[in-house]
């Protein structure tokens, strides 16, 4: 049935003026009479504690004819025949109502998010590192993201983020999460963004800027750190929120594990060749209006210069949020900062650098927000060339500011300007105007 027909069928059913409704009501009355007969003949009437049925409840299912032995068989047969004839006539006249069709409710919750941006860069060659950043002058399709989720069974839930871009389809995430492990444990398995730091596990939809902090692109790759693998997390029994996360993921991927094996498809020789990520996340509710979230992370694994050469990335993140809920207010102010300290063993040397960002977001009106961000990244301090970014010989800084208009929680329009200051070349201006819209199932957002 086409949606339009289904809609028409459903709405006509709810319209008290149509014949359809009248005949349904008379049918309900007839069956109610039979039901009363049955109940009084078999059981003592009991006061119902159930609330009355919804007036707009789904169509009454066709009851199986069940002649009451205590009743009048002739009358029952006549009633059943009349009702069957009515039902047949109705079925001819009207398609069956739209819902519920058994099975359809088992479909996963699906939503689509579209991000498009107009961009202008002050230099022909810019240094954007995010895979979904606007990358060229003019119009950019940042992404079309399909988010899917549903319980698998009582033990697992399934989530996936599939991105349709200019160059094809990409499975960003697809994983199972356990729901019923004992001792406050939870396992995720599949392909997922590692829970390193604060911004890495999130998607563009959750960001306050059009682009990604360059630290993520520099250290992990354009897509953020992810891979096929498995993760175990434990909500500790401490009186405050303290969660410990350990994951093992594939160290390969230019856009997802660039400081590890990256684009080089080196084989795994020992189990230690996987990327291991450990994170501790702690939260304190300072007051109903003030929240503080802090994390420490470590990602470690072999790098592209050889199996014996390892990369360690140490991370610290802080998120402070002020959102008054003890009085009527639409204000939100948040501060978010992250530092990534990377140590890479290379033949006969050790490359050490630090990158990070700090940003402030202020929702100053119900539909308006503004944000400012400072990005920084030091050069790898060995004096020689960095095998990943040979030109990165001096510190780089970038300042960005954005203003966002939110018509509803399902759409946003964002203007952003930034000035990139790589120490090794001239500064780069960039201006973005981005639109995001989402349709489908209403996503639930983590803090």
């Amino acid at each position: 049935m086409s949606p339009a027909v289904a809609q028409a069928a459903a709405s006509s059913f709810h319209d008290p003026n149509t014949e359809r409704h009248v005949s349904a009501r008379s049918r309900i009355r007839a069956w109610a009479a039979i039901a009363i007969l049955a109940v009084t003949s078999t059981a003592v009437a009991q006061p119902s504690t159930e609330p009355p049925p919804e007036p707009e409840s789904e169509p009454v299912p066709e009851p199986v004819p069940d002649p009451d032995p205590a009743g009048d068989p002739a009358l029952d047969a006549e009633l059943a025949a009349a009702l069957a004839a009515d039902a047949a006539a109705e079925a001819k006249a009207q398609p069956p109502p739209a819902a519920p069709v058994s099975g359809s409710v088992m479909n996963p919750d699906i939503s689509f998010i579209v991000d498009v941006a107009a961009a202008w860069f002050g230099e022909d060659e810019h240094l954007q590192t995010g895979g979904h950043d606007p990358s060229k002058n003019g119009f950019n399709l940042q992404q079309v993201e399909m988010a899917i989720g549903k319980s698998v069974d009582p033990y697992f839930r399934f989530d996936a983020n599939i991105v349709f871009g200019a160059f094809g389809v990409e499975v960003e995430e697809a994983y199972a999460t356990t729901l019923a492990l004992p001792r406050s444990l939870q396992v995720r398995a599949g392909q997922f963004l590692t829970r390193f730091g604060r911004i890495n596990p999130t998607h563009l939809h959750a960001w306050d800027f059009v682009d990604q902090p360059f630290a993520i692109g520099r250290v992990f790759g354009a897509e953020g750190n992810r891979g096929a693998g498995v993760e175990l997390s434990w909500l500790t029994p401490l009186p405050w929120y303290a969660e410990l996360v350990v994951s093992a993921t594939d160290p390969v991927g230019e856009g997802t594990a660039r400081s590890f094996f990256g684009p080089t498809e080196l084989p795994l020789e020992t189990p230690l060749d996987v990327q291991t990520t450990v994170a501790l996340k702690q939260f304190a509710e300072l007051s109903p209006d003030w929240s503080l979230l802090g994390g420490l992370s470590l990602a470690t694994g072999p790098n592209a210069t050889g199996h014996d050469n390892r990369t360690d990335v140490w991370g610290a993140d802080l998120f402070v949020k002020f959102r008054p809920i003890t009085e009527a207010s639409t204000t939100v102010v948040s501060l978010q900062a992250e530092v990534l300290h990377r140590r890479r063993q290379v033949p006969h040397d050790l490359l050490v650098d630090t990158s990070g960002y700090a940003q402030v977001f202020w929702r100053f009106a119900a539909r308006w927000g503004t944000a400012a961000r400072w990005d920084f990244g030091t050069a790898a301090d060995d004096g020689g060339a960095d095998y990943l970014d040979p030109e990165w010989t001096e510190a780089r800084h970038r300042a960005s500011a954005s203003v966002t208009f939110y018509p509803t929680e399902f759409s946003r329009l964002r203007a952003q300007g930034s000035y990139d200051m790589p120490g090794w070349r001239d500064g780069i201006w960039a201006a973005f105007l981005a639109l995001e819209v989402s349709v489908g199932a209403h996503a639930a957002h983590k803090f």
């Binding site: 009582p154 509710e285 959102r323 009085e327 399902f410």
Partner: protein, 305 residues
């Protein structure tokens, strides 16, 4: 061996912390309710056998609650989760349920109760389309302003507690009977208090007072929001003011958590009284559901005078 020694005090410390965090010996049923009025009703039904926490505050719009990790912790330890349902909590509760690592409070779990399933919902849209604003496909979830819906929820909660904690089923039933009797008495009082205003036109901010107005026989002639969740526009507000004048509206009502400047403006222009409806029972300060509804009814009565 010597090198291992520092581990001993660490382990002891961890063990201490675990013991300190362990639940008290009294086997209360730990209940988490998504909104404060639901928590207040659960307290009436559960009495001394349950400990009830509300996730949101009466000053907070329950559509937009932050899924704070501290709430994950509460749900991790909960035996029961009481939700309104009808998509009121859809933007945050599922994230908390998944993170809580507690199968009891999952929507499929034995501890989960969705009250919307026990109430006749109004405002169910014929077409679920967000072009109509932030509509709830299942119906309007703001039903706790109708004491008859509150009674239906109380019955459902009593049955739920009896399933979870069968030994005290009689106690829950007795608490329920006591609460329902008190609520019936209060309802008669509230209805009498506002009986003179039946049919009076009222303007509201959001379509969240529908159940309250329908129960009391008041008529919602317009909402200041042009569509649910869409902030008022100048032209719409002007039309609402004209309508308010034409219908001689006496009260402009809104929940305390909505911005009140536009309401105040509309009320001044008509002229009418602004009625601020508390968003829920202030359970943190020990307010009961009946005391909360006393406030609601009194503020409406004051506005309609």
């Amino acid at each position: 061996m010597r090198k291992l020694l520092p581990i001993v005090p660490l382990v002891a410390l961890a063990a201490l912390a675990t013991v300190a965090a362990a639940p008290p010996a009294v086997a209360d049923v730990k209940v988490v309710a998504t909104v404060p009025s639901l928590a207040a009703i659960a307290k009436e039904v559960g009495g001394k056998h349950v400990s009830v926490t509300a996730i949101s505050l009466p000053t907070q719009d329950a559509h937009f609650v932050d899924a704070k990790p501290s709430l994950v912790l509460k749900l991790n330890k909960a035996d029961a989760l009481l939700a309104i349902g009808a998509d009121l909590e859809i933007g945050w509760l599922p994230a908390l349920q998944t993170q809580a690592r507690n199968p009891r409070i999952l929507s499929s779990g034995a501890g989960y109760l969705e009250c919307a399933a026990h109430v006749t919902l109004r405002d169910r849209p014929a077409v679920a389309d967000r072009a109509q604003g932030d509509v709830h496909a299942a119906g309007n979830p703001h039903f706790l302003y109708d004491p008859r819906a509150a009674a239906a929820c109380a019955r459902a909660i009593a049955a739920h507690f009896a399933r979870l904690d069968g030994k005290r089923a009689k106690a829950y039933q007795a608490n329920l009977a006591r609460f329902l009797a008190a609520l019936d008495g209060a309802r008669a009082r509230w209805e009498k208090h506002l009986a003179a205003h039946r049919g009076a036109p009222v303007i509201t901010y959001h379509r969240s007072l529908t159940y309250l107005l329908d129960w009391l026989g008041l008529v919602e002639v317009a909402t200041i929001e042009p569509k649910p969740g869409i902030p008022p526009t100048a032209s719409h507000v002007a039309a609402v003011i004209d309508l308010g004048k034409a219908k001689a509206v006496k009260a402009v009502a809104q929940e305390a958590y909505y911005p009140d400047k536009t309401c105040a403006l509309v009320a001044r222009k008509i002229p009418a009284a602004v009625v601020r409806i508390p968003g829920g029972a202030d359970v943190a300060r020990g307010q009961s559901y009946i005391q909360h509804m006393d406030e609601v009814v009194n503020s409406l009565a004051a506005g309609l005078k």
